[in-house]
């Protein structure tokens, strides 16, 4: 029994008693370097955390993370779970302050894997100086879920909130780096595709890379192109803002190895998720300032202007293709699958 408790997650871990307490105190809490953002934080293990927030508007977001496989080239579900929530705050214009993290674990899940996952979550938060202030752990029976679900909730503070609906005709549209890497890395790993590829997930927190660009006040709208990739992000921004978009395909950054593998699989890199990129609309008079702010940080130094918002075709995204043709870049209908035709 003792051995099992040390190697695998069992029902006892989720039951709230001593076993759980020991697991949390010994193996989970110490991994997170910053555990409070006010008088009551993680260490107190109270019913909630109490935060002292800097002035500004409170931005609040939550996301449940499931990913298969849990460990993938370039990251794992732990890194993804905290990064995803941090990035949701950042693309709202907020500086991330504190996160909560809730685990739902399948009985029998290896503790060593759980530790690795939490270590990578902790590493991201530590680097950012963002606190983990509260959390929860539940265990479900074997077969009742697939491994692990992590829910993270985050709060941040924004001086100027940036919605995804603020694009105005004439604004420049930017992407902060090459697209398609996370989605492709996951697709290759999930389907055990018989390919060797250097493609890794781009999962990375957009803070502090976007801090200086936000401070210019020139960003009118922003979104992280996660599920559905660049195509979904642009369409959503166009629809919510009531503007059209004209995108130059040649300007969309895509790494050669991503393009090559996408061609083999017959999928579009624009529909693949990114986890370390942002799509921005920028007021024309602030373009130079925003670009130089972005290019000063390694994560966003590949930022590119990919097109402009227009009054034509409101709600639609038009792609001017490599050969000079035009087409709609459509909202993807589900995750891409490799095709033969």
């Amino acid at each position: 029994m003792k051995r099992l408790l040390e190697e695998k997650v069992t029902a006892l871990h989720g039951a709230g008693g001593l076993v759980m307490d020991k697991l949390l105190r010994e193996r989970i809490l110490p991994k997170f370097p910053i555990r409070a953002a006010g008088p009551i934080g993680l260490d107190q293990m109270d019913d909630g955390a109490v935060l002292d927030l800097p002035p500004g508007r409170l931005v609040f977001t939550t996301d449940s993370h499931v990913v298969k496989p849990l460990f993938f080239p370039g990251g794992d579900i732990g890194k993804l779970a905290v990064t995803g929530t941090v990035n949701d705050l950042v693309v709202m214009g907020a500086r991330p302050v504190a996160l909560s993290l809730a685990l739902v674990i399948e009985e029998g899940f290896p503790l060593a894997d759980l530790e690795r996952i939490l270590e990578s979550a902790a590493a991201v938060l530590g680097e950012l100086g963002v606190a983990l202030v509260t959390g929860d752990t539940k265990v479900m029976g074997r077969g009742e879920l697939d491994g692990l679900v992590i829910t993270t909730t985050g709060v941040g503070v924004a001086e100027r909130v940036v919605p995804d609906s603020g694009v105005r005709p004439g604004d420049f549209l930017l992407v902060t780096g090459p697209v398609g890497e996370h989605g492709l890395a996951i697709l290759a790993a999930r389907n055990a595709l018989p390919v060797e590829t250097p493609v890794e997930s781009d999962v990375a927190p957009l803070w502090p890379a976007l801090a200086a660009a936000l401070a210019t006040g020139g960003i009118t709208a922003m979104k992280d192109p996660t599920r559905g990739g660049l195509a979904a992000a642009l369409n959503e921004m166009a629809q919510k803002s009531g503007v059209g978009m004209e995108i130059e395909e040649e300007r969309i950054p895509v790494r050669a190895e991503v393009r090559g593998l996408c061609e083999l699989l017959g999928i579009s890199p624009y529909e693949l998720a990114c986890e370390g990129r942002a799509v921005l609309a920028v007021a024309p008079e602030k373009l130079a300032e925003v670009l130089s702010a972005l290019r000063a940080h390694p994560l966003t130094q590949g930022a590119q202007v990919i097109g402009r918002a227009t009054e034509h075709y409101p709600g639609k995204v038009i792609l001017r293709t490599a050969v000079g043709g035009k087409r709609f870049l459509e909202m993807p209908l589900g995750d891409p699958v490799p095709r033969i035709c």
Binding site: V195, E196, P198
Partner: protein, 76 residues
Amino acid sequence: MCLAIPARVVAVEGNVATVDLGGSRARARLDALGEPVQVGDYLLVHAGFAIRRLDPADAEETLRLFQEILALEEGP
């Protein structure tokens, strides 16, 4: 139908070639190709099988054909 793409051969072992696609690598079986394949060749790969060896000279020939019809028809 029939997505098939040109890929460069980086290794050949028996009836399987390893092909490069801008840094990503995949396997291509050579069963359906009636000719020998060498490292550096280009193959047209469909669903894991090479269906044709491509000659870079033929790609240039294609461009010549394009120019030919364009020139022919661009007259008055």
